[in-house]
């Protein structure tokens, strides 16, 4: 691709970008939030029509004006904001636009099922194909989106931040899939903010910044620090405020139960205590009951058993940004205001003080470095990461007593993540919150990103099949927790057997 430019309104998202990638390579595309990564790839897959571009695929000039052109040219993409139909089953979603499906003929569910099996055997990637997507957890949806692309068997595969909601093992899987695809001579374009993944997985790297290419390199020639320096233009990884000793209890769940829509047990006798000033980390593979747990912790759902005591001011960062946290057709200001309706500072009797709210939002946009034209821009027009920042900005403000954060840094670039962690730590410290000198808060961090948990949690639990398993300080290790997440067992099967061998 050469000379790709795209303006949205006045602002240019892509400015004369050139991007080249070869068959048989894994090519990472990185850059800060709003750099233009997604837009560039949407251009390549015909979802955004560029103001100017000339695209050459396998040598010949190609004009890609519609998704159909892109398919014709063998381009396929895993979308950052999923393109799945919730009301349809996984299988139906996979059949849609699948090149095995003959136009208008009987749906070859059989073939697709079989294909799916093969993929499962090859890659270990799998989701029950007869479930409805709306019943799937975000993690599972991400997997469906990936399967959809693989089934279409395109020549050029674009993955837009596929790893942000996957468990470590699943990420590892995906990386090996990339490798295999590359070996088959396919082109893999991989967008992520997890720079270590970039370093380990990719053959070549292109860095975007403010819609321009600022660097082309190869992993051998650089490292995480180096990359983030180019991306952000400054060093990251500044040390974070160390938390003080925990204080009074803010949350207590005792033998809490949750029953799913189909009567299945989602939470089994969960016991949990969160104290002010501490971060409780909950690791787990998506789809083990996190949904119910966070809804109970954030006071949105009554438990189906057990007792729950919650504080008053709770901030909640859900995993499904588009569906649960933001109203796409509303502008940034209105989306933040969702969290201010009850806030006396922004109310005069029943009236909302919009001028005051807008002022406040302008300030947030600056502090959180949200890339937007103005506080009146619709959030649908924001980049994925910037959308996430809007959510964080709103919810952190609310977390006077408790913050329930679900994969909070999904889609955030390194700098933004750092900033979030700082804010989160500040919550824990006495009176350090900018305008309020409230009591310090507690934090529950539910994440599929083990790193995140290990580096910030004071207490660590693993959620498995709706059970909450406490991890003792002693055996905190990547391996142990990883096993717990996958098997729910503290000791692995072999050693148990060997124990038995003794007597």
């Amino acid at each position: 691709m050469e000379k790709v430019s795209k303006k949205f309104g006045g602002k240019s998202a892509l400015d004369d970008v050139g991007f080249t990638s070869f068959p048989g390579e894994v090519h990472s595309l990185v850059g800060e939030n709003g750099a233009g990564k997604t837009t560039l790839m949407r251009v390549l897959s015909g979802l955004v029509v560029p103001d100017s571009a000339n695209i050459r695929i396998r040598g010949e000039e190609t004009t890609i004006a519609t998704p159909m052109d892109a398919r014709g040219a063998g381009v396929g993409m895993v979308h950052q904001n999923f393109l799945l139909i919730p009301a349809h089953t996984v299988l139906e979603n996979l059949c849609l636009g699948n090149r095995f499906v003959g136009q208008g003929h009987v749906l070859p569910y059989g073939d697709v099922r079989q294909k799916l099996q093969e993929l499962r055997d090859k890659t270990g990637l799998w989701v029950e194909e007869d479930r409805f997507v709306e019943d799937l957890s975000i993690g599972e949806r991400q997997k469906v989106e990936i399967l959809k692309l693989l089934l279409r068997e395109p020549e050029i595969l674009i993955f837009d931040e596929p790893t942000s909601v996957l468990a470590p093992q699943e990420v590892a899987n995906l990386m090996s899939i990339f490798r295999r695809l590359a070996l088959d001579g396919k082109t893999v374009i991989f967008i992520t903010h997890k720079l270590n993944e970039v370093i380990e997985a990719s053959d070549r790297i292109t860095v975007l910044k403010q819609g321009k290419v600022v660097c082309r390199t190869i992993p051998e020639a650089t490292d995480v620090q180096g990359l983030s320096k180019v991306m952000i233009g400054e060093d990251v990884g500044a040390s974070l405020a160390k938390t003080q000793a925990p204080g009074s209890t803010v949350v207590r769940l005792t033998s809490t139960k949750a029953i799913g829509v189909h009567g299945e047990e989602k939470l089994v006798d969960v016991n949990l205590v969160v104290r002010r000033g501490e971060v409780v980390g909950i690791a787990g593979v998506e789809g083990n009951g996190q949904q119910e747990l966070v809804e109970i912790l954030s006071g949105l759902r009554r438990p189906d058993g057990g007792t729950v005591s919650l504080p008053r001011q709770i901030g909640f960062i859900p995993d499904d940004r588009g569906g649960k946290a933001l109203i796409g057709s509303f502008n940034i200001s209105e989306n933040v205001a969702l969290g201010l309706v009850g806030d006396s500072r922004f109310r005069w009797g029943p009236a909302m003080l919009w001028s005051k709210i807008n002022q406040y939002v302008k300030d947030l946009i600056v502090r959180y470095g949200i890339r937007a034209e103005s506080y009146q821009q619709k959030v649908d027009e924001l980049s994925g990461g910037n959308q996430q920042k809007v959510v964080l900005a709103r919810e952190l403000k609310r977390s006077k007593d408790l913050l329930v954060a679900r994969n909070p840094t999904q889609g955030l670039d390194v700098k933004a993540s750092e900033f979030f962690y700082q804010q989160m730590m500040e919550l824990l410290v006495d009176g350090s919150r900018s305008e309020s000198t409230g009591p310090r808060a507690g934090v529950v961090l539910i994440s599929s990103d083990l790193e995140e948990i290990l580096s910030f949690a004071d207490e660590i639990y693993v959620i498995y099949n709706g059970e909450l398993l406490k991890v003792n300080k002693a055996d905190v290790s990547r391996e142990f927790i990883g096993r717990l997440m996958l098997t729910g067992r503290r000791t692995d099967v072999l050693s148990v057997k060997s124990d038995h061998c003794y007597d």
């Binding site: 949205f8 309104g9 979802l47 955004v48 029509v49 004006a65 954030s298 006071g299 949105l300 909640f316 859900p318 569906g323 649960k324 946290a325 933001l326 109203i327 796409g328 057709s329 509303f330 209105e334 989306n335 205001a337 969702l338 969290g339 309706v341 009850g342 109310r347 029943p350 009236a351 909302m352 919009w354 619709k378 649908d380 027009e381 959510v391 709103r394 919810e395």
Partner: protein
């Protein structure tokens, strides 16, 4: 869409506008009527003189505006209330009942009382669909449509049995007392106080929706129920109830206004499908309260002019609804043209409203 597409669309719109205009003219000419005469009578019958504008266009606009507001409230909040028709009838039944029984009280007391009861009745009529939606998850589109038919037959019962005129002969109620009738605000024209009420509703609602917390939450619910529940920490069932009641009471109020302002008694067929026309009124106004006032007046003019077409130009009634339709279609076409011309930027795959029937 690219600029190219949007200019194509503009061309399409323009030609559609021309086409509809030509079609209308051609159809009329074929029927042996002079398009110009028809157009003239249409305009004179709606804007011909101040008296006509006030006495015909504005008077006819009143129910359309108020019911249009009812629809707007609902649609803005993501509630598909197709039942304004029935809520209007509920309002007129309650209105006439109270109106007949408060004859001997002073107007400043009896008239507001009629309005209140009419609004209340409309709200109650909307309550059943609301509860069925919240408790049983039955979509409101179908329940509200059904409630319309029930209301219509209920009217035909009420005017033949409980509230039938004192002579017990004709299927309509007695006339309400002079003191319960709305004063004419512009002497000589039929323009009654109802218009002021309508305008007050317009202003009040746009303030409520744009400047109050609850109004904002309703709009948010219209944008996304789930996000409003999770991030707005709002009690959706409560917001739904509020929406239904508010929408229903407006449609009911319209009934009260018609009784006290125009018919002074309850008859069958009081509403020629206003509840449905109002949907067009609201949507043509892009669910903007102020704009509803304008589109409402537009439809009022259309119906007033249509009457004149029959009287002056001798166009058979059958033609009238056809011509109304063509006018409506050409408005749609030009509406698109304006959108294209005024548009600054185009946003990509955004869902505006979610329909859950």
């Amino acid at each position: 869409m690219t600029n190219r597409d949007s200019w194509i669309a503009l061309a399409v719109s323009l030609s559609a506008l021309l086409l509809t205009a030509l079609l209308t003219a051609a159809a009329l000419a074929l029927g042996g009527y002079s398009p110009l005469v028809v157009l003239q009578s249409l305009l004179e019958g709606s804007f011909g003189s101040l008296d006509i504008f006030f006495g015909v266009t504005l008077v006819r606009a009143i129910p359309l505006v108020v019911i249009g507001l009812a629809v707007t409230v609902a649609f803005k909040s993501g509630v598909w209330n197709i039942g304004a028709e029935g809520q209007f009838y509920a309002g007129s039944m309650a209105g006439v009942w109270v109106g007949l029984s408060v004859g001997d009280y002073p107007s400043f007391f009896s008239v507001p009382l009629v309005f209140l009861s009419a609004a209340a009745a409309g709200a109650i009529w909307a309550l059943l669909p609301a509860l069925m939606k919240i408790r049983l998850g039955v979509g409101e589109v179908v329940t509200t449509i059904l409630m319309n038919f029930v209301a219509i037959h209920l009217v035909s019962y009420v005017v033949r049995w409980p509230l039938q005129e004192s002579r017990g002969v004709f299927p309509n109620t007695d006339l309400i007392d002079e003191s319960v009738r709305l004063p004419i605000i512009i002497p000589g024209t039929g323009l009654h106080l109802g218009f002021v009420v309508a305008v007050i509703c317009v202003v009040g609602l746009s303030i409520f929706f744009n400047n109050t917390g609850m109004g904002f939450q309703l709009r948010a619910m219209g944008g996304s129920k789930e996000a409003t529940r999770v991030s707005g920490r709002a009690r959706i069932p409560m917001l739904l109830i509020v929406t239904f009641l508010l929408s229903g009471s407006l449609a009911g109020l319209a009934g009260g206004i018609e009784i006290t302002g125009r018919t002074f008694a309850l008859y069958e067929g009081m509403s020629p499908g206003w509840g449905y026309t109002a949907i067009a009124v609201a949507l043509l106004a892009d669910l903007n309260f102020i704009a509803v006032l304008v589109t409402g007046i537009f439809f009022g003019a259309l119906e007033g002019g249509a009457g004149a077409m029959q009287r002056e130009a001798g166009i058979p009634a059958a033609w009238v609804s056809g011509i109304e339709a063509l006018v409506l279609l050409s408005v749609l076409a030009s509406d698109r043209i304006l959108r294209r011309l005024l548009r600054s930027k185009k946003k990509y795959d955004v869902k505006e409203r979610e329909l859950d029937v």
